[in-house]
Amino acid sequence: MSVKNELIPQASAANLTPEDFRQIGVDEKQSEVIQRESLSAWRDSWERLRSNKLAMAGLIVMALVVIMAFIGPMISKFDYQTNDLMNTNKPPNSVHWFGTDDLGRDMFVRTWMGARISLVVGLAAALIDVMIGVIYGGIMGYFGGRVDEIMNKFAEILYSIPYLLVTILLLVVFEPSLGTIILALTITGWINMSWIVRGEIMQLKNREYVLASRSMGAGSGRLLFRHLLPNAMGPIIVTLTLSVPNAIFSEAFLSYLGLGVQEPVASLGSMISSSLSGWMLYPWRMLFPALLISLTMLAFNIFGDGLRDALDPKLKK
């Protein structure tokens, strides 16, 4: 390194006075660091979620769909099952806002009723998945070892059976109704959830705070429900959000096979499949349910993705 001949700091050396070189006490320092208010993990995630505009839009759409599915059929003077054979296949007009179908039923009411059924199917299937998955996965993860091995093998074998085939078989045998459809959809749907719970619990159970709690004599139940599950909540919620649209989709597919909800009840899927035959003549019969199902799927998926990013910032790309 070349040596420069400036053995004295030269910056504005001229104007410096001895006063400048008086030591300052700690409390005199201007740059006391103001620590950012520390947020709880959940608050923090919520803040991140709220700043994600796309996810919030998804949430709003989800809320709107749910609200309309609830009140939509009420704000029209029609009901979803009365036929009006004088007014079949009418395009949207001031009386029938979404037009009518081949039996003259009001499409506006039927669309929102269909949304209601689709949502019920989706939510119920997802919730049952969560319940079974949390219990099964919780046991696998918590006890580990032999128990885990056997239960996991069982789950793996079940999982490798193509679930839609089983669902179809079940519905062929037991006539489709809301209940059997939901049950048939959950027959293998819970496995994925149980694996997620298992993974989380396995990771969490060796953390210090769990060991500490155990060393103080906390029982298995308390550990599982007080310490482990609440901390595994993030991934559970994300999986739940993303499995709702899956169930809605599967129901739509079953409707197409004639194994969805049966007439006169409608789901979005069954409305689309019954519109398929003549939809080029009566496009509105497909348009509204198709639009709504796509919008719902979109909203759930976008919100689910946003939720995942918010709960696990490490994964965010």
Binding site: I8, P9, A11, F21, R22
Partner: protein
């Protein structure tokens, strides 16, 4: 000593959501032929950014080299095209990274990862490259090198992988090796082995080494000269002896005091440096260390001090070196 690398007034910034992080702010230093220079500082001091800028490995965007020069063998690396840089990387400058567990491609055999550079830079056939690669593996202390050559990274332990990294970085006998925290992710016993391998290789090939670390223990065992960085600036440089025996900058002293020593008495406390480094989106006008400094004076908050050269090799950027400070303190 003839210098191989000269970094002149280097400024590097990152654009982030809240503005521009000025990560490196006017860094100057040189590295001589066959010399080992350690760059020391805590995370965020700009040491890694400096190292990656020399290699032009820093992703842009978000980073931007604002000004400065990196003169390597008489040529400014910052004005080279990407193509020209590719011919220099791996051939004239090698680099090893912090985490040997993630620095090797998990799906490619170790041997192939070593020979890649050889084949590109020295136009060797695969067979020739393989001979050289196996030889390199032997040199860095990997037993059974022929068999290991055909194994995948996951079949190596952390320490062994770091040896492989060294073999990769030195395969083409570069004149400069940049080691970015090469021992941080390793066990203490393995750290020493890796340091020894590096020293050994340096003796064999006469490579200059820039060693980035926050571990002063590593520095003491290896470096000829030390550069202490804080908040994107070089605050003190000197020979290892000068830095360890006669540290001048309060930050350097703080670093040394927070380091446990074998001869330390039991009741002698370790002194941590209180507080956190400044936010480099809005770096302070004065000395960046002033807020955490026990000796902070009024001037420190107003004006960032210039370098004071205490000897041919020793430089400190601190107002305490100003004659007026010494007068005031002693009175």
């Amino acid at each position: 000593m003839e210098s191989i690398l000269e970094v002149k007034d280097l400024h590097v910034s990152f654009s982030v959501r809240g503005g521009e992080v000025k990560a490196v702010r006017g860094v100057n230093f040189t590295v001589g032929k066959g010399e080992t220079v350690a760059i020391v500082g805590e995370s965020g001091s700009g040491k890694s950014v400096t190292a990656q800028t020399i290699m032009r490995l820093i992703p842009s965007p978000p980073s931007k080299i604002k000004q400065g020069q990196v003169i390597f063998n008489g040529e400014d690396l910052l004005s080279k095209t990407n193509k020209q840089m590719e011919a220099i990387r791996g051939k004239d400058i090698g680099m090893i990274f912090q985490d040997p567990m993630t620095s090797l491609n998990p799906t490619i055999k170790v041997g192939k990862q070593i020979t890649e550079g050889l084949i590109k830079h020295q136009n060797l056939s695969f067979a020739e490259a393989k001979t050289r690669g196996v030889e390199m593996l032997k040199l860095v202390g990997i037993k059974n090198a022929e068999a290991r050559f055909n194994q995948y990274p996951h079949e190596f332990s952390g320490g062994m992988r770091q040896r492989v990294m060294i073999a990769i970085a030195l395969a083409c006998r570069p004149s400069l090796l940049i080691a970015d925290e090469p021992t941080t992710a390793l066990d203490v016993t393995i750290q020493a082995q890796i340091i020894n391998v590096m020293k050994d290789m340096q003796e064999r090939f006469g490579t200059s080494i820039i060693m980035i670390t926050h571990d002063l223990g590593v520095v003491a065992g290896m470096a000829d000269r030390v550069i202490v960085m804080y908040a994107g600036e070089v605050v003190e440089t000197g020979t290892s002896m000068e830095i360890f025996k006669n540290p001048q900058h309060p930050y350097t002293r703080g670093l040394l005091r927070s380091l446990p020593r074998i001869d330390q008495r039991k009741d002698e406390p370790l002194v941590p440096i209180i507080g956190t480094p400044p936010d480099l989106i809005k770096p302070p006008v004065g000395c960046p260390f002033a807020a955490r400094c026990d000796h902070a004076m009024k001037v420190c908050e107003r004006i960032d001090p210039d370098p004071t050269h205490l000897s041919d090799t020793h430089m400190s950027r601190c107002w305490l070196q100003h004659p007026m400070a010494q007068e005031v303190q002693s009175s």
